[in-house]
Point group: D2
Chain length 299, copies 4
């Protein structure tokens, strides 16, 4: 039975994902170039490895959770050459959110070496990682995605098969672009209602039961005080950072550029989140976009 996992990248997302695998009975061998992150993970039961190369030896699964195209490609292909040392029986599962182009390059390079790799970018954020309620949007060979469920099921509740290499990344950025749009739209609608005398709770309830219904409104309401447990009711702390939404909207625009698709609302959403981030809000939750519509000094 597949029991040994190499986990590469033990940051805010990777660490809690790794811990859930440990809870499920897997042996997790970890590496992160940031010593403090690695040490923190070790204290939670991750087996310490001195390098990525050491971690992947003998693993049934290699799971990576990394910040960018450059880091992923450098690790597997261009610099650390992990694909040279990963063994045939191992399944590579890259959970990083990167461009479809980059994912395709990794998966193709793995195939050329006779290895199996899939992409599995996640949605659900830090909370979802901790609670093992992530969604994985997978791209690659169908049987590889099936096999990956062995581990993915312990870190999340949904494992979607989007299509061949790149499809998972595309699904993720389409989803997040749409999320950005209805988050801003929800913020605009709530402020318009409030400015015309409505109670934001009442308006939220009405729209939630009507055709305005959407995830931002119903589960992540951006207006302070409407829902108790949202970042909006906690000074926009926690949650999904503006900086990360900007990253995903940048990937969406790159995809649109590549396919000659046009996304006027998606582009405007990107610019509004970008302008918001310029003013020192990068670390806030993305629902803080609500504040740009307030009649008050900024922040």
């Amino acid at each position: 039975m597949d029991k040994i996992v190499a986990f590469l990248g033990l940051g805010h997302m990777g660490a809690p994902m790794a811990f859930n695998l440990i809870k499920a009975g897997f042996t997790v061998r970890g590496f992160d170039p940031v010593e403090t992150l690695l040490q923190a993970a070790v204290e939670q039961g991750v087996e310490k490895c001195a390098s990525a190369k050491e971690a992947v030896k003998g693993a049934d699964f290699v799971i990576s959770m990394l910040p960018s195209d450059a880091v992923v490609e450098s690790l597997y292909i261009d610099k650390d050459h992990l694909l040279e040392v990963i063994e045939k029986q191992t399944l590579i599962i890259d959970c990083s959110t990167v461009s479809a182009r980059s994912s395709k390059r990794l998966i193709n390079a793995a195939q050329i070496k006779g290895l199996h790799a899939i992409e599995a970018p996640v949605s659900g954020g830090v909370k979802g990682a901790a609670a093992a309620t992530l969604s994985f949007m997978c791209g690659g060979e169908h049987e590889d995605v099936e096999r990956a469920k062995t581990v993915l099921q312990h870190m999340g509740t949904n494992v979607f098969f989007a299509g061949p290499a790149g499809a998972g990344q595309t699904a993720k950025i389409c989803n997040n672009m749409l999320l950005a749009i209805h988050m801003i739209g929800t913020a605009e609608a709530l402020q318009l209602g409030v400015d015309n005398g409505l109670d934001p709770k009442v308006l939220s309830e009405i729209m939630s039961k009507s055709s305005g219904a959407n995830w931002s409104l119903q589960t992540y309401n951006p207006y302070p005080g409407v829902m108790e447990s949202t970042p909006a009711s906690n000074h926009y702390r926690g949650g999904f950072k503006v900086a990360l939404m900007c990253k995903d909207l940048g990937l969406a625009q790159q995809a649109a550029d590549h396919s000659r698709s046009y996304t006027p609302l998606g582009s405007l959403a990107r610019n509004l989140f970008g302008l918001h981030s310029l003013k020192g809000n990068e670390e806030l939750d993305f629902s803080s976009i609500q504040t740009i519509f307030n009649k008050e000094p900024y922040k």
Copy 2:
């Protein structure tokens, strides 16, 4: 028991609403200045009246379903002076989608004459009117809205109390502005996915279970073939017309203008629907906005 309803305006929405009241056992006395509409309603059981004035005599409820501020104000106040002849025991329920300013004027004018009036604009479209599944977004005195439920419950499934006069109209246009935004956003996301090789059904399913979830995606999918019963799968026929969405987005912009609120996505949505309508698409369902993103000759 309140049993007599005067129904003013028997068009695409008003007629099926009136029929549902007849089915529920009400006596419906109707008027419409368009003779063919009036005649068609009479054939379904509406009692024919020669004028609005004749219809409202002795009615427990006056329900109006009219196209614009000007028509509503002309009928009740400025030209036909209905408020002069409506009796004290009657409750006026204006279901028209008009500006909050216009609704306030009607309700205030009624109060000055000792009459009771509420606004109750609807969402749900022609289908909802026929199936008695409309939502009513009510503004006015709370007890008047409670009393209105006597009739509203037979025409719809939700009766929301949004607040005082004007609040119902504001809730409606906030909702529809948000609807317009996530409809376009959904169309953009689906086209971006398709242009990058994804199956629109698969992508729709993934986003429906993720943070991109919204009413347009899940119940009114704009991509042809994803859902069987949507206008998108029927050449964008039926449903909620582009022309009506343009009207509601115009009302939203007027409200924003009045309250000095700013709605960048709402304004862009208005312009995109407007440009779409200019090219001969006014009568199509509003989900036809999907077609502006296609790599094909227009229409």
Copy 3:
């Protein structure tokens, strides 16, 4: 010879315009409901009148410079009934920026009483008013506009005949919408250049001699330090206020709404200026929109 002018509205724009007429040898009889404004004008040679009605008696020209539709209509028609007392030989010149609808109402109401009236909204700002370099965008009867030149030539350098009643207002808001668009566009282009290492002066010079050339770039450069005498080089003080640009963009959107025209960039410009004004920048010069693109805490 026409020598007596009644000047109604002696604020930031009206006062310097009146003074230029005095310099040119006209007798100017003035009124403003704000006593301090009236007194200040009197000290510069305006003859003090106790009311608008008193001012217009025996005048060859009545010139008004007022802030809104409501004030203009109240003064001439609805409340002060000036049209009842203005004499047949008098030419009414309304220099206020109002809606085309409001201008048409005034001019038509004047005609019904056998009076002559034109609209003549201005561009050029407080500086242009002081320097007598305003542009007047006139609407009404052609011969009335010709006669108006007797006075307009002493307050400005350009007197344009745009067409019948309303055309002057339309020309003005088309112009100012276009101005808003190329001001923001210029700010975006300059910031993009600077962020990629270019000197804003060099870039401004190159674009000024190329197809990017426009009035904002060449005579009113929004980047601090590029031009010596602009508001941008004086902490965005003076010039044309954000609040006034917001007003004109609101009128443009009303006109578009009325004619079912669509202006995606104009609408977005309106929203960006509006969001900028919400954060406490209403009194700054409109070129301060440059600051929303800076990588610095707001203001």
Copy 4:
């Protein structure tokens, strides 16, 4: 004296540029992989070369006019290795519009080999190329740009020095983004005026003398019939193609992405031109964007 020019890329732009050098007395040795283009140029006096490598031998200047990053980098560096054969006394002048990143790579690679290279993207289009009225926006070493004037002055009227490697490309895309914005803004303003009863010629004249003034309005008016010699008055034929404007707006967005700059109007302009191109208008002049605002069936 520098007299021998190698000209690489003899398409719509390159060919007339080369002819102007021949007229000025230069010996032009040409190459283009498309045989028909090469042959056409030869008939106008270009000396035929069998390859780029052959062309550059002994040249005082190598001028290239190529369509994309990939083609430029392939020719000089990655595939044809031109930098290996170009001689020390030769000055490379790349007139292609490419990304600043690509220009920097070329210029740096040349420097490493002890060669001199500058970027000199042009504005002015096919007409400017034929009439020798192009503008060159140069980046690189200042003395190299000075030396380049020996040839550039015979192909254009302005040679701008924007700054170090990449600065010329940045200046070009800033300029063209601003051009796109005021072209659409001008189209919106003109349509808004016309829809409200104004004559487009009268409105154009008024705005040209007012603060709305810009290059699109004054020299390239997009409304049919306003100016005689514009593409707008010739069914939008000729001029600067929609496809090329889309290319430049794509480069602008890439630059913005790279520098974390935000350009809401620039992004919206990109999307509007893109949507316009999707509907079969790629080959029309870019001022045809006017037609999306017309109340008529598309095209």
